[in-house]
Every structure is written in C-alpha cells, then in structure tokens.
C-alpha cells in the first residue's frame, strides 16, 4: 500500500520547465550541428542557405534553452527553494547574496552551464561575423554543446543515468526518511550545506567565469582547425584561427593566473603554484595554444607549419577535455587537493574525449593531404625555424607535465585490465617538475631571444649575419652582467638555475633591443616584445620568490637534533603581547577581534637595527574563518604585507584546541578538575596545587602555592563573551591571585549571569599560572539576597535633600532624564528618569547610585540600583509630577558570609597562536612578468583583428 504523499510548499514548476528546456537545449544543439553539417557540405549549392537557416534556428533555440536553464537555476537559488538538491547542496539561509554566483558554479552542473554559457556567447559572435566559416565552425561547436548539454540532462535509460540535472528535486535524488513528512521543506533549511567557506571569497566570483571563458575559447580555434581541414581552405583559416588563438591564450592564461593569485592571496597554500594536477591540466592547454599561436604566425608569414598549427589547436582542445575528465571524474582524488567530487559522469566524459579525438584524426587524415607543402627547405637562420623550435619546446613541456600528472590514470587503465600498479606521484613532486621545466625555460629564453634578431624566410643570411652577431653578442654581454648582479641579490643555487637566469635576462635584453634599435615599434613587435620580455621577468620572479622564500617563523631555539635536514620548522608559537625575536623581526601577537564570522589576529612585525632604532613596523591580520554556527574554524586565511621588492606572507597554522573547535573546547573543559573554595571579602586564602613534572627526564611532583582573595563584587561586570541584556542578573567576582614563588600577582574576573531561568557562566583564566576560575549558583545565592529579606525604609525626597542612613550621608542631587543602568536598554517610547544619589561614608569615600523609574507601554517599572561596596540598595518607586517629590526605598545588607567560587589548575592556555610567516622576495617580478605575457597576447589579438590585409 503505497500512498502518494502530497507535499506542502514545493515549487514544482521550475523543475518541470527546467527538465523541458534542458532537453530542448540538447535536441536543438544536435539539430543545429546536423544542419550546419549539411550546410558545410552543400556549400555553393542552392540548398546551402536553407541548411544554414536551420542551423541558425537550432543555435538560437539551444542558446535560449541553456540561458533559460541558467536563469531558472539562479532563480531557485536566490529564492532558496531547498526542495531542489542543487539549491540544498550549494545555498544556505545565511549565504550572502553576493556569493550566489559562486554557489552557482561551485558544483559540476553549474560549471557545465557556465561553460556552455560562454560557448553560446562566442558562437553568437561567429554566427554574426563568421561569414563563410559560420557553418563548419558552428557545426563543430554545436557538436561540443551536445556533449556538454548531455552532462546536465539527468535522464535515466534503464539503470543508466545520463547527466545530472541541476533542477532535479532533492526527493528524487535521495531516499531519506525526511521525505516521509509532507512538510519536509520546512525542515530542510537547517541542513542546507551552503557554499564551502573556503570558497566564500571574491576570487571565487571572478576566477571560474574567466577560466571557463578560457576553456570555452579553446573550442573556437579548434573548430576553425577542423573547419579549415573540412573546407580545405587552409590559407583563409589562418587569420581567424590566429585571432581566436590569441584570445584563447590571453583569457585562459588570465584565468590560470587568477587561480594562482587566489591561492596566494586568500588561501593558506603559501605560494601561487604547487604543480597540483588540477593546476597542471589547465596549464598544458595554455602551453599548447601558445605553441599554436607561434606556428600560426609562421604559417601566416611563410606558408609553412599549417599542419602543425591545426595540430596544436586540436591538441589544445583535446587537452581541455582531458583536463575536464581528470578533474571531474574523481581519478585525481588521491593526488590533488582541489578536484571536483565524483558524480558518476566518468563514462560520458570518456565518450566526450574519445569522440573528438577520433573526429580530429579523421579530419587530419582526410584534410591533411590538401595542406600545401613547403616549396623550399628552410634555413636554420630564419625566424620561423627558431619559432617552430620554441613551439616544440612548449609541446615537450606539455608532454612532460601530462606524463606525471597522468599517473593516477595509468593505475585506472591497469585496473581495467586487472592489474594493480599502485603508482603514485613522485616523492618530491615540486623538485620533479622543476627539474624538467628548468630546461624548458632555458630553451624558451634562448629561442625567444635569438628569433628576435632573425627574419622570416631568410634569403640573404650573409648580408644579415653581421648585424645579427653584433646584436646577439651585446645582448648576451649585458645579460651576463645582469645575471651576476641578480646572483648577488638572490641565492641562485645550482648551475641549471644560473643558466635559466641568464637566458631569462638574455630574452629581456634581446626583446628590448628588438623594439628599440633592431626592429621597429609597430604591430606584432609590440605584442612580441611585451610577451617575451614578460616571460623573462616572470622567470626572475619565480627564482626570487620560489627558490628564495624564507621562513621568518622558524624558532632557532626549538631545533631538535631529530629533525630531518630537508625539514625546517615552519611554525612558531606566539603568546599574546609577548614579543618574539625571530630572523631579524620582532613579532608580537597583540590580540584578536571578531567581525561577522571571521576572527582577526593582529600580529605586529618590527625590524630593529643594531643601534636599536625601529626602522620598519607593520601589522598583519591573518584570520580564521568560522563556520556559520561559529562552532568550528572552517579555514585559516592569510594576510600579506606587500612591498615593491618582497612580500611578507603570514597565516595561522594553529590555535589553542578550544579556540578552533567547540567540541574540543568542551572536551578540554570537561577534563579540568574544578574545586570549590570560598572566602570572605578581602581575606586571602591559600590554595595548593600538586603538579606532576615529567620533563628533562625527571618524574616528580611539585607543589604550587597560590594566594587567592576576593577583592570585590561587580554587579555590572564586563566579560568579552558576555553581551548584557535587559533583565539580566549579572555578577562578577574581582579576584586577585598572588603566586609567591615568582612574586607575581594577577587578577581575574569570572562572571555568572542569570537570565530568566537560565544560568550563563563566563570563566576567567590566568594563562601564566594555568588557572581557571568559574562561578556557580551558590555564588549567586551567597550574594543576591531575595528582595523580601531586605528591610526597606521608605522616604520622600525632593531634589537637593540630604539625609543620614546607617551612618552614610546621602544626597539627592538631581534627576537624570537619560539614565545609564546596567540592567536598562533604552527602547522607543520609554519614559525613564533616574534619581541621582551621592553617598558619602564616614571615611570620605564617595559612591553614586541611579535607581530608575521607567514607564514603558503605560506600565511602570522599578529598576533598583545599589552600591555594592557598602551594600546599600535603592528603589525609586514613585514620583509625584506636580510637586517633584519622589519616593525612595532604601535598605542595607552587608556581606558577611563567605563567597564560594570554583578553581581549576592545569587549565589550557588560550592566549596564543601558531603562526607561519614567509618572506617572498621579488614576487612582484612574477606578477609583472605574467601580466606582461597576458598583455602581449591581448595586444596581439587586437592587432590581428585590426590587421585586415594579411
């Protein structure tokens, strides 16, 4: 008997429309792909126009469908319809609106939609501007869209699921008991995952769209390459391919760099590049597209390397698919720290890459024969030769990186055949990659320098060779000098690095020479200069910041003989307000503050010269981001001091256990043994604590003696965790603790608050003595006497009246219309007045009390005040507005019984941070160099768009 449950409050229309448009998007992409296919094949016939029209209709339908899907997904996320699983997984009630975009592309479905979004956008440009290329290019692009769209289909064929629908209902994707409730939606919000706190960052808003535009852009030169082979119009395909190749290189490169900047600026990775598989697989397509741009330039200038150009653009796209497969299939789980979670799309992804690999092979084989062959052998003293070599070096680099990154893939393949290889990434991955890539950098430096002095299709080498030799020799000389100077600044290390540094310098100088003396400041020269000089500068930046990064946070005193040589202490412990001298810096943890869910730790850095003068001082605020419920640290985020020549990067490597996780805090608190003590005011009691000492080979006990006295009772106490509310009964004990062994003295003020029927306890800690104090209800009972037990005397007074009470001289000085009272929080419409009373005792002490008479909502309230030092209680019970006479109740109660409190010894310190601080010298060379490379690509792109002639 299965009865259909009628759920309450669901918004089913979005899912239904979504399901339809996703399917429509898929079908129309397929339709458009086929129509454009026939249009291409029927080019020049009468059928061409009608096929093209159909292709355009399909494209438009597909675009509208996907954009509608994206809109719907956004809508349900903004509205927080948790009945949809994508909303449940990526949004929560406390997620700020500004992170909705980030939440949208946090999941695989969202990022597939983002990818398609850009394909459609770029496709529309081709549709309008593509001319004769429209049909073949869009046919290929729509074929790609068919595959990506299938990833979000979410339809079942038998038991096999195709794609994951972002608009699927939660109750359709999971079977949990909650769905037996007809009003389950009301309970879902509390469990919603929200956006991973690590990703709640503005970088997450800009990095993925840029990277995915980069990913999407590689499809265009790819589609042009296929189109060129298809239409066998090789000469004409070069121009649009070059533009789009440059566009792709610039955007993809920028996207990758943003990832690096994110990792460096906002995550605690301690660097901008870690050779992580996810990083590597996006770098490889970039290397290939840059190789393609170079062969494309050669092809445009000389007619050589057209086939290589096709091949590079095809490989670029295939590697994008490979990257997608690797990062989204869960294969990298063991080797990467930031891959997507597995979603069961492996087979679809595999099919995606296999289809386009086979398609490319078919077109290369069939269309490749028609590519014009070079008529004449190239000379090695030509520009194109060295540019081509440079492209080959980039290909090498890509092959080597892919080879190591693919290790988990070898395991997977072996697994299919029943073997267990158990291979894993190199023991020293960074050294492994650097070892090979240093040679790549050396050759890129060499070739990008030499080729600047050479000419395309050199036919008069004899006439040119002298000029070449002079320019090359002078550039090398200057590069040599600069290398020497740089080696004085940074520690270069092994000879390979010297070579790399030299060639980086060489390419910078050669490129400056090229643009100022050798060549002309025009067109592609500007692009080439910017990009290649940028490359050289980037290499210098990498060497300075990567090879020469220096840990400030090593503590030379904590060195243990056991530490392996290749491990240095990376963290240092800092106690609050306790300066530490480390590696030339005086570092002080000065305190913390909380803004929203982030706790900022103020750390001051100072440098002091030999004369004792402070010549550098700055504050950094590394922080801990807590989860929404504030129970646990979600991530530690760095803070960096930027200088022109170096950065000082720091982040929290650890907090006292109780500060990072509320459960740890509870466990620690439970492990403490509190004992109850009591004493009269100002009467010290002696407390002994037996401590077991097992350090330095001893195992003995030490008895510590403390003198504790209650110095006062505070009825409007302050505690950093306590936020006073109206009606609170709060109590603080001012404690003084003497530790005669060190002749030190400390104070602490534990607080207890009675709010309604709930007790709140705020402990106080003396970190240096490892003592913790708490109060309990007995403390309250001992101090607060019920009002009924107070023998109030009633008195009528006017302003200026003075009287004697139990030996105290009390003066009613005036009214206060805007009273301040620990138990009073002002509200709109209150009529409150306080009687200001000055109390003088015989010893000449002055006290003041302000009992309040309050009318709130036509009801009178009496807020009593007291002078706790002498135990005087005042109530302001009545006022006669006509005469100005007030009625006061006065009573005295002196504290005579002992006041109980709780104390635990061996408490855990909570006043320190574990800090990691690193100096990155010359890191701005890295940013400058990489930005120049991207700028060079952009300049090239604009240049080639303007360039209508060639």
């Amino acid at each position: 008997m299965t009865e259909e449950i009628q759920y309450i409050g669901e918004h089913l229309i979005f899912g239904k429309v979504g399901y339809f448009v996703i399917l429509l998007g898929f079908v129309s992409a397929l339709f458009s792909c086929i129509s454009y296919f026939f249009a291409t094949n029927k080019e020049g016939t009468s059928e061409f126009q009608s096929w093209k029209r159909l292709g355009r209709i399909g494209f438009t339908l597909h675009g509208v469908s996907i954009y509608t899907t994206i809109f719907l997904t956004f809508y349900i996320m903004i509205q927080k319809y948790y009945e949809y699983s994508y909303v449940f997984e990526h949004v929560s009630d406390d997620l700020p609106f500004k992170y909705i975009f980030s939440a949208f592309w946090e999941g695989q479905e969202g990022s597939f939609m983002l990818w398609m979004f850009w394909h459609i956008f770029l496709g529309a440009i081709i549709l309008i501007k593509g001319g004769k290329w429209e049909a073949p290019v869009l046919s290929v692009l729509m074929a790609i869209e068919v595959f990506i769209n299938s990833m979000i289909l979410g339809i079942h064929i038998g038991t096999y699921k195709i794609g994951a629908n972002p608009l699927a209902l939660f109750r359709d994707t999971a079977a949990i008991p909650l769905f037996n409730n007809e009003d389950y939606i009301t309970q879902l919000a509390q469990f919603a995952d929200g956006l991973n706190p690590l990703l709640q960052n503005y970088w997450m808003t800009i990095h993925p769209p840029t990277l995915f535009l980069g990913f999407a852009s590689t499809a265009i030169p790819f589609a042009f390459a296929i189109a060129g082979l298809w239409r066998k119009d090789h000469k004409a395909s070069l121009r649009p391919m070059l533009r789009w190749g440059l566009f792709s290189g610039a955007i993809l490169g920028t996207g990758i760099l943003m990832g690096g900047a994110w990792a460096y600026e906002a995550l605690s990775f301690g660097g901008y590049w870690a050779w992580d598989p996810v990083e590597n697989t996006s770098l490889v397509p970039w290397l290939l597209v840059v190789a393609g741009i170079h062969t494309n330039l050669i092809a445009k200038a000389t007619g050589y390397s057209i086939k290589s150009t096709y091949l590079f653009y095809i490989l670029t796209f295939i590697m994008i698919l490979y990257s997608t497969t690797l990062t989204r299939s869960g294969v990298l789980g063991d080797t990467s720290v930031h891959a997507f979670t597995e979603m069961g799309l492996e087979n679809q992804l595999l099919l995606f890459i296999i289809f386009f690999t086979l398609l490319s092979i078919v077109f290369m084989v069939t269309g490749g024969k028609s590519v014009p062959a070079p008529e004449k052998e190239e000379t090695i003293f030509s520009k194109e030769f060295w540019m081509f070599m440079g492209s080959m070096v980039l290909l090498f680099s890509g092959i080597l990186i892919t080879f190591t990154t693919s290790i988990p893939v070898y395991n997977k393949i072996a697994e299919v055949f029943g073997y267990d290889l158990g291979l894993t990434t190199p023991l020293e991955p960074i050294e492994h990659y650097n070892k090979y890539q240093v040679w790549i950098a050396i050759f890129i430096g060499l070739f990008s320098a030499f080729s600047q002095f050479l000419r395309y299709r050199e036919f008069n080498w004899k006439g040119h060779s002298k000029k070449f030799a002079i320019h090359a020799a002078i550039s090398m000389l200057i590069a040599g000098i600069l290398t020497y100077v740089t080696a004085l600044w940074i520690n270069v290390g092994i000879w390979q690095y010297y070579l790399m540094l030299f060639f980086a310098m060489f390419t910078i100088i050669a490129n400056i020479d090229m643009i100022t003396f050798f060549g002309k400041v025009k067109g592609m020269n500007i692009s080439s200069f910017t990009a290649h000089a940028g490359f050289g500068i980037m290499i210098i930046g990498i060497m300075a910041s990567g090879l020469n990064k220096q840990y400030i946070s090593t503590n030379p005193f904590a060195q243990r003989g056991l530490i392996p040589e290749d491990m240095i202490n990376q963290n240092v412990i800092l106690f609050e307000s306790d300066p530490m001298f480390i590696n030339g810096y005086q570092v002080t943890y000065e305190g913390d503050s909380i803004v929203d869910n982030t706790r900022y730790f103020k750390v001051n850095y100072q440098r002091i010269d030999k004369m004792g003068n402070r010549y550098e001082s700055f504050d950094l605020y590394p922080n801990a981001l807590y989860n929404a419920k504030f129970t646990k640290v979600a991530s530690f985020n760095p803070s960096t001091q930027h200088y022109l020549d170096r950065d000082i990067f720091s982040h929290i490597a650890g907090l006292p256990p109780g500060e990072a996780d509320i459960e740890d805090a509870k466990a620690k608190e439970d492990s403490l043994k509190y004992y109850s003590y009591s004493s009269l005011l100002n009467t010290p009691i002696e407390i002994l604590d037996t401590v077991r000492v097992t350090e330095f080979g001893f195992d003995t006990t030490v008895v510590k003696k403390f003198l504790v006295s209650i110095e006062g009772i505070n009825k409007s106490p302050v505690h950093h965790e306590y936020k006073p509310e109206m009606g609170d009964l709060a109590l603080g004990l001012k404690l003084k603790v003497d530790y005669p062994a060190d002749s030190t003295s400390y104070t602490a003020e534990p607080v207890i608050v009675l709010r309604g029927s709930l007790l709140f306890n705020y402990a106080a800690q003396i970190n240096d003595l490892a003592l913790k104090f708490k109060l309990n209800e007995k403390t309250l009972d001992a101090i607060f006497i019920p009002e009924a037990e107070l023998a109030y005397q009633t008195m009528d007074l006017k302003v200026g009246d003075e009287f004697n009470f139990n030996g105290y001289k009390i003066n009613f000085s005036n009214f206060e219309k805007d009273p301040v009272h620990s138990g009073y929080v002002k509200e709109e419409g209150d009529i409150a007045v306080a009687a200001v009373l000055n109390v003088n005792d015989t010893e000449g002490n002055n006290y003041s009390a302000q009992p309040i008479y309050l009318i709130r909502g036509n009801r009178p309230f009496v807020l009593k005040d007291e002078v706790s030092e002498v135990g005087l209680h005042f109530q302001f019970v009545k006022i006669d507005p006509a005469t100005g006479t007030v009625t006061l109740n006065i009573a005295q109660h002196t504290q005579q019984s002992a006041i109980p409190f709780l104390m635990a010894a061996n408490s855990y310190r909570d006043d320190y941070i574990v800090l990691e601080a690193i100096v990155f010298p010359g890191i701005n060379f890295f940013w400058l160099g990489t930005i120049m490379m991207m700028a060079g690509l952009f300049i090239g792109m604009f240049r080639s768009i303007r360039d209508k002639v060639t």
Partner: protein, 131 residues
C-alpha cells in the same frame, strides 16, 4: 636528409630520454614492512588509528605532531610530523605520508589527508537522524 628531419629525430630522442628519466621518479605506495628495509624516502598510505594517542602540544613545540597509522597490510606505526596538526585531521579517511623510518617511528616530511566531503557528512546525518 633535410636538416629539419635530423633535428626532428634528435628532439624525439631527447623527449624519449626525458620521459624515461621522468618515469624513474614515479613512486609506488609502500608499506611499513618495506620502509624498514629501504634506507630512503617512501610513500605510505594508511588510516589513522583513532584509539592510539595523538600528540600535539603547540605550547611545547608547534612543529611536532605524532599519531599512529595503520598501513594497507595492517601494520601500525607511530608517525612523527615536524609541522603543525592539520585542520580536521581526525576526520581524514586516508592519509598519504612521504618520509622514512627512524628507529621504530616513521618520520614524515609530507602528508596528504583525504577528507570526506561536507555533503556526505550532512547526508549521513540526515539518514541517521530519522526525522
């Protein structure tokens, strides 16, 4: 033969040599039993032994953390990491360590922990809570 072809062949040879050399760096997962025999760095994958003591007291030394790992063969060893204790360490499903044996302890120079995703945790919670 064209100069181009010679250079092409040379490049292919260099590529093969480089790949061959690179493949030397590829590591395999070892066990503690192998680590005892090998006098050098290895990689061990295993699971955290929750019952055994985990020691990290930053007040004494912020760069000293010890715990116990059970490798794929079920051998348990104490692991010393000269660094701070990572966030959510207790929740890790699998731990991959790089390092070598020192006496009876394994000294790790690098550690990669694999944590279950947050989503799984919530899902488990929903399933168990039976609300």
């Amino acid at each position: 033969m064209k100069k181009f072809h010679i250079i092409g062949i040379v490049m292919i040879l260099v590529a093969i040599a480089a790949l061959f050399m690179a493949s030397e760096d590829i590591a395999t997962y070892s066990t503690f039993a192998e680590a005892v025999k090998v006098n050098g760095k290895i990689k061990v994958a295993g699971q955290l032994v929750m019952e055994k003591e985990m020691y990290y007291d930053p007040e004494k030394d912020p760069n000293y953390f010890t715990f116990h790992i059970k490798d794929m063969e079920g051998t348990e060893k104490k692991v010393i990491l000269y660094g701070s204790k990572p966030q959510d360490f207790e929740m890790s499903e699998q731990i991959v360590l790089t390092g070598k044996m020192s006496g009876d302890d394994f000294v790790a120079t690098d550690m990669l922990t694999k944590c279950p995703s947050k989503y799984k945790e919530e899902e488990m919670f929903l399933k168990e809570s039976e609300i």
